[in-house]
Amino acid sequence: MIIETLCFYLFAAVTLFSAFMVISSRNPVHSVLFLILAFINSAALFLLLGAEFLAMILIIVYVGAVAVLFLFVVMMLDIDFEEMRRGFLQYLPIGALIGAVLLAELLLVLGTWAVSPEAAEMAAAPTPPVEEVSNTAALGQLLYTHYVYLFQAAGMILLVAMVGAIVLTHRTRKGVKKQNIGEQVRRRRSDAVEIKKVQPGQGI
């Protein structure tokens, strides 16, 4: 028990620290690396909660794909972050003002916050008991039965996103050499090799 608590505080502290470093470090590459550290520590927090599936997804998807993509973008696009920060102080007062207003509003709402009795009673999420199935299986059961409609609909949305990206950005460029496997396989020796008799001392 005490070890669990210690682990929690360790991971939580590292997460907070690295999240802070993401926004404060000067070198954008360092920012991305700290972001990865934050992701891994959050994954550890998920593990402590018993949500092993989410923990692994966080590492595979966010660290493995998203963060690496960020890293590529940061390295390939030579963005001058100092330049972007220059206007920061200028907009600080108005930004702070809007932030303060929003905070005040949120506090007003949260001040009257009470967990409504209905929330607990209506929330009959059909999750199977944790003791019986692993949470990967539980998620799968929910996703492919109860929420199958939404799952398919989300698939259609991704299809639209893909079609849209291609419609708006794809251009057929001239002079691009494309691989045609059929042609490569059909190729015979006679298409590629020609035997020339070269007389000595004459060249071709």
């Binding site: 709402v109 009257t112 916050w113 009470a114 409504s116 209905e118 929330a119 607990a120 009673e121 209506m122 929330a123 059909p126 199977p128 059961q141 492919y144 039965t145 109860h146 929420y147 199958v148 409609y149 939404l150 398919q152 609909a153 989300a154 259609m156 949305i157 299809l159 639209v160 996103a161 079609v163 849209g164 291609i166 419609v167 708006l168 950005t169």
Partner: protein
């Protein structure tokens, strides 16, 4: 946990057909290249037609499926048929245009098809999550359609503007939904309705916050004032057939969704949401009437006109009665016919050097093209709401419903706004009939469009003689929504 049952697919057959057709046509397009765009276009129209027929064949009573996330009732059927019809018309309207502008892209009809799928899902949503998913499917397709002329700066700008503001609206809608979920513990419309219907249930501030955010997100999608800022720019920048699509089908679907939400789960909280809708209606009607007066571009004018018409439709919703919903549905059906007709005429405004969109280009149309001028005049008179044309009856039924629900002030403001609005509709008629002719337009519209525009004009004129099919089916649909 009980063993999962396979959900009943019957009620969702039109949607499944649309999804499968979209994927199959995507394959056709990919393998046959852009040369197949006409084929894909007609097949999409056929798919939409078959889906509409299947929708009509669904049982009339209320059916739930997919863990109560999807509902089919008389209301959904009526609205879906309108949405599918206007999407099919949008594809037909675009085909000739796509050829002439050399935008030979098979993705265009496909995106309309996918948007129609999203709209059908919105209309059948019975859960906050399925609402959002349908809305997002529709919006994403529309963003791409707005920017489909990617070489033109205005079209790209329209797409980006629509996308950024639309994303903001989706954010508000999601925030509202999460608040509602947080305060009730459920996202299902039926469960919400039972919860609010309990004795002595009083809504907390947080829940009302949620409803306000949800309404703001939906108001953006129907472009009601004060969430209308994007409409004129997007309508002007997007290619004309896309504008014609935007002005009809998405508005019908979003208004239907709006009615389903406020009259379904939140029916008991009418005092809370009615003030929002009344405000949206008044602001939209007034702004739509006043701001359109100074426009010189006909697409911008139609944008303000559509803002105004959303205001009139919301009057029916503000009534919150069965009669009000019936008025809203009649209004939408008539609006569909008038707007499709008017936009076909706008599409035919073409000179040698390309499309023209200025109102003054219509000058003297009555002498150069008497048929088109007569049709456009009919639609303008009808949009202005002058009896005995169909547009008058649309307004009449919503105002009567508002008066019967005790909202006399709202109805009076609506009448005043439509008198102001009549000015700019009639100005177009005046320009066409009494001004010196401007240069003539190029070749007349294609045969298909000629048929559609004639049908729309005949509907608009003769609605007064034989209104019962629309009135009766709208009444059945409204009865399904308001118990």
């Amino acid at each position: 946990m009980t063993p999962a049952l396979i959900p009943s697919l019957g009620p969702a057959v039109p949607e499944i057909l649309l999804a499968v057709a979209a994927m199959a046509l995507l394959m056709v397009g990919v393998f046959r290249g852009n040369g197949a765009s006409n084929l894909v276009g007609w097949l999409s129209v056929a798919a939409l037609g078959v889906a509409a027929v299947l929708t009509l064949g669904l049982p009339g009573e209320r059916v739930l499926t997919f863990s109560n996330m999807f509902v089919v009732d008389g209301f959904a059927r009526f609205v879906k048929v309108m949405v599918l019809m206007s999407s099919a018309l949008a594809i037909i309207m675009s085909m000739n245009w796509l050829d002439r502008e050399n935008i030979n892209r098979f993705e265009y009809p496909l995106l309309v098809l996918l948007a129609a799928l999203g709209m059908a899902m919105m209309v059948s949503a019975n859960d906050l999550i399925s609402l959002y998913v349908g809305l997002e499917l529709q919006s994403l397709s529309l963003y791409v359609l707005a920017a489909i002329r990617r070489d033109s700066a205005v079209s790209t700008e329209a797409g980006i503007k629509y996308f950024v503001l639309g994303a903001l609206a989706s954010g508000m809608l999601l925030y509202g939904s999460s608040l509602i979920y947080g305060f009730t513990g459920t996202t299902n419309f039926d469960a919400l309705a039972t919860l609010f219907g309990r004795e002595g249930y009083s809504a907390s501030i947080g829940l009302i916050f949620g409803i306000v955010f949800l309404a703001a997100g939906l108001a953006f999608k129907v472009s009601a004032v004060p969430f209308h800022m994007w409409t004129p720019d997007v309508y002007e920048g997007a290619p004309t057939p896309v504008t014609a699509f935007f002005a009809v089908a998405p508005k019908i679907a979003a208004l239907a969704l709006f009615s389903r939400i406020v009259l379904g789960p939140f029916a008991e909280m009418i005092d809370q949401w009615r003030q929002i809708i009344v405000f949206l209606a008044i602001a939209s009607m007034v702004l739509g009437a006043v701001a359109a007066i100074v426009q010189t571009n006909i697409k911008r004018l139609m944008a303000y006109s559509s803002i105004g018409h959303v205001g009139y439709a919301l009057v029916g919703l503000a009534a919150g009665t069965e009669e009000g919903v019936r008025g809203l549905l009649i209004y939408l059906a008539i609006y569909l016919a008038m707007n499709v007709g008017a936009f076909i005429c706008i599409l035919a405004m073409r000179r040698k050097d390309g499309m023209t969109e200025e109102i003054r280009d219509l000058a003297g149309l009555a002498q150069t093209r008497p048929g088109m001028a007569a049709a456009l005049a009919i639609f303008m008179f009808s949009l202005a709401g002058i009896p005995p044309l169909a547009g008058f009856f649309g307004k009449f039924y919503v105002f009567v419903a508002a008066v019967n629900a005790g909202l006399v002030g709202l109805a009076v403001i609506g009448v005043i706004a439509s008198v102001i609005g009549a000015y700019y509709y009639l100005r177009i008629v005046k320009i066409m009939y009494f001004d010196e002719p401007a240069a003539e337009f190029e070749a007349p519209m294609s045969r298909e469009l000629g048929i559609v525009v004639t049908a729309a004009a005949v509907f608009t004129v003769l609605f007064v003689l034989y209104p019962s099919p629309i009135l009766d089916s709208a009444a059945v649909a409204a009865a399904a929504l308001v118990p």
